[in-house]
């Protein structure tokens, strides 16, 4: 349990024993900050790592390896971390302390200027993948996991949480630690979230980034229960800016790389986290304010008298697709993640350019509870989803009933057509009676009450007739369902085409990778799948393929494939006309997941239940 933590229950799994603090050898100030943090967070003294490194902000890659990477690997091995594949990791969090370098020059490109500031790699970002071969801009497998999970032992096998506690002087770094502890102890945070969604729009990555911020604004911002202020899109595409900050607790924006400390007004609210996505927000965090009053964002966040507890920024140009995303960041914080987790979960790439500055163990408490769709403890469903699922169940029950009717009819007809007197003598009577008892009319009558009550339920709970509900939900009903409605049956445009079918896959990504996935579905008439009737592959055509981009909401799958961070969500295939099958017939169905190299991620999974064509 972290010390000084008076309010927040620990929902996450990051205990002080899992944190190491790296300080600079023979540097009394650096050690002082390490001790200050140890006292604040109760991390064990054994988790101090002394690094024989320079006090320069930027160092060569060679020096990085010899004075930072190797000493940390050695120390962590002593603390029980195994740096073999899938080795157990006792330590999950690495903090780089005061006066420890923040970046090294990338020497992977022999033709690049080794000391060009555009070639800086953030050491804290590299350390996310400590013990693994360096790979610039490596896809982060913990990024934006739609099925939220706290950082776990499983994650720790292949990734570390990292942060930097550094600044112009030790007094300011102590303030960073103090601010985090104060925020930890706030019953709930107050203030405003400032959002600047608009920046450049020249490239796909830039437009995607703007859209991702707007997605956060539309789908998450109001869940946090804080006031907010958005910049306004300009007509002439000039980058809009926040005029000034007052009562700000969060800032998340991009582009304009310099701002003035004077535009952050005095306030009583605690400043929690600031991020401006640009090339060099965190490139020079050892500096104090610029004399001309134009500073990188992280410098303002750190150095303000009433400054931010944490901030994030780039040490050099990362490309826009690597910028931190607000939605996974705030959703993770709202779930109760530490800010170190939230930063990791919102970073599309690691081994790259962006760092978190501040105490990674800080937790932020929001006044508003988690919305139902994010609360993993809530297992109830919305009324519309329940109506949809009941409709599907009734349609399936009807399809089996009418299947029985069809089969008994066929049996009876076969007896009649046999021309075998003995066969007819013994079978005609019972098969006729069997068919009579299972006729379509009988089957319809069995469901009459259920379907009538169901349509009344829809009206009483939604105020909509079944037809209006179907229109509103973009749904249809099966032919048999419509038959049972009798005089209340709906026009044919409300009824699924004969033979259409759909199949859903709940995909759990088994790899610790972030990649795109394709799905293959085979439908066969026999159990051995030697007589395949339908063979579909989402890498060849996305016709009919959808995935659950928001809970219970499906959207078209793209040709890129299914993003693995949507693991836990469903993929749905709705058969196009060419793949229609026979109504009430049963088929064997199986699926597999393949990667972009056409290798099986999950090999054929045969559904234990045959697919009935109910439409």
């Amino acid at each position: 349990m972290s010390s000084n933590l008076n309010f927040a229950p620990l929902l996450h799994n990051i205990t002080p024993e899992r944190v190491v603090f790296c300080y600079r050898s023979d540097d009394a100030d650096s050690l002082e900050i390490a001790n200050y943090y140890k006292d604040a967070r109760d991390i064990p003294l054994a988790n101090f790592i002394s690094l024989p490194c320079s006090d320069e902000q930027y160092i060569s890659e060679t020096d990085y390896i010899s004075t930072i990477e190797m000493p940390i690997i050695s120390a962590l091995s002593g603390l029980g971390n195994k740096f073999t594949s899938s080795g157990q990791k006792e330590i999950w969090v690495i903090i780089l302390g005061y006066n420890v370098p923040i970046a090294f020059y990338d020497m992977s490109d022999p033709y690049a200027d080794p000391y060009d500031s555009n070639n800086l790699i953030a050491i804290a970002s590299r350390l996310h993948r400590l013990g693994q071969v360096r790979f610039n801009k490596f896809s982060n497998f913990t990024y934006d996991r739609k099925d939220f999970q706290f950082f776990s032992m499983n994650d720790a096998e292949n990734i570390f949480i990292t942060a930097v506690l550094n600044g112009p002087n030790k007094s300011i770094v102590k303030k960073l630690i103090d601010r985090s502890i104060v925020i930890d102890n706030e019953q709930y945070i107050t203030g405003k979230i400032y959002i600047d969604p608009y920046g450049k729009k020249s490239t796909t990555d830039q437009i995607d980034y703007q859209n991702d911020i707007l997605d956060f604004v539309n789908n998450e911002l109001t869940n946090l229960g804080l006031d907010y202020e958005l910049t306004v899109k300009t007509v002439n595409n000039v980058d809009p800016m926040v005029r000034f900050f007052q009562h700000d607790s969060f800032y998340f924006g991009w582009f304009t790389p310099r701002y003035s400390k004077n535009l952050f007004l005095d306030q009583s609210e605690k400043r929690v986290f600031l991020y401006n996505a640009d090339n060099d927000s965190a490139a020079n965090i050892k500096s104090n304010f610029d004399v001309n009053g134009s500073d990188p964002w992280c410098n303002i966040a750190i150095n303000l008298e009433k400054g931010y507890a944490c901030c994030a920024g780039n040490v050099s140009n990362s490309d826009e697709d690597a910028y931190l995303r607000p939605r996974p960041f705030f959703e993770a914080l709202h779930q109760g993640s530490t800010i170190g987790e939230a930063f990791l979960f919102s970073s599309p790439y690691v081994d790259w350019k962006t760092i978190l500055i501040g105490d990674p163990l800080m937790v932020v408490n929001f006044l508003s509870p988690l919305p139902d769709n994010q609360n993993t403890h809530i297992t109830t469903l919305s009324n519309n989803e329940v109506i949809r699922q009941i409709k599907e169940s009734i349609e399936e029950a009807l399809a089996y009933g009418f299947r029985q009717s069809r089969i008994t009819s066929e049996i009876n007809q076969n007896v009649v057509n046999s021309n075998n007197l003995s066969e007819e003598i013994y079978l005609l009577g019972p098969t006729t009676e069997w068919f009579r008892q299972k006729s379509e009319e009988t089957q319809s009558n069995l469901f009459l009450r259920a379907i009538n009550t169901f349509t009344q339920y829809i009206f009483k709970t939604t105020g909509l007739s079944i037809s209006d509900w179907l229109i509103r939900q973009n749904e249809k009903i099966s032919f048999f369902f419509n038959e049972v409605l009798g005089s209340a049956s709906l026009p044919t445009n409300f009824v699924y085409s004969e033979g259409q079918w759909q199949y859903e896959i709940s995909y759990i990504h088994p790899r610790q990778t972030r990649e795109y996935i394709y799905f293959e579905i085979q439908v066969a008439s026999n159990k051995g799948f030697t007589n395949i009737l339908v063979n579909i592959n989402s890498s060849e055509s996305i016709d009919g393929w959808k995935y659950e981009n928001e809970k219970f909401h499906f959207t078209q799958l793209s040709l890129d494939g299914f993003p693995s961070n949507f693991s836990g969500r469903r993929v749905r295939f709705i058969s196009p006309t060419v793949n229609y099958l026979t109504r009430t017939e049963l088929y064997y169905i199986r699926w597999r997941a393949i990667d972009t190299n056409n290798s099986a991620i999950i090999d054929w999974q045969v559904d234990s239940k045959r697919l009935i064509i109910k439409r």
Partner: protein, 136 residues
């Protein structure tokens, strides 16, 4: 032309499979409707505007689905015409070949489904395990 003869093994297999499928379809129908009953209890009632009306509607639906399930289940378990059909096939085989259904299946190296075997047992015609294919 009408004749009287023992049915061929392929025709027996057709009947055995279709009897099995018809019997299973009835049970699957009941199972599907049963699954919907639990769904009613899973509604997030906090989303309802007028809670009382909604809860009354939920209860009505729950009762209607349960009643339909019982109705369908009972209907599927009134196996009399189904048993008569199974018995009819056995009697035809016995009359034309003097073989029990188990002997007929064994002699022709056929297999029946476990569903078929269970229903045969109801009217006293036991089919050996070796003649049952659990995959059918």
């Amino acid at each position: 032309m009408v004749y009287s003869a023992l049915i061929s093994p392929s025709r027996f297999t057709y009947y055995a499979n279709q009897f099995t499928e018809a019997s299973r379809a009835g049970l699957e129908s009941a199972r599907s409707i049963f699954a919907s009953i639990a769904l009613v209890d899973n509604v997030n009632i906090s989303t309802f505007g007028v809670l009382t009306d909604a809860v009354v509607a939920m209860n009505s639906l729950s009762v209607a689905l349960r009643s339909s399930y019982e109705f369908i289940f009972t209907n599927q378990y009134s196996t009399q015409p189904m048993e008569s059909t199974f018995l009819g096939l056995s009697n035809h085989i016995l009359k034309m070949s003097n073989l029990s259904i188990n002997e007929y299946v064994s002699n022709n190296d056929l297999k029946v489904s476990s569903t078929y075997a269970k229903l045969s047992r109801i009217y006293g015609n036991v089919i050996d395990n070796s003649n049952i294919d659990l995959d059918l």
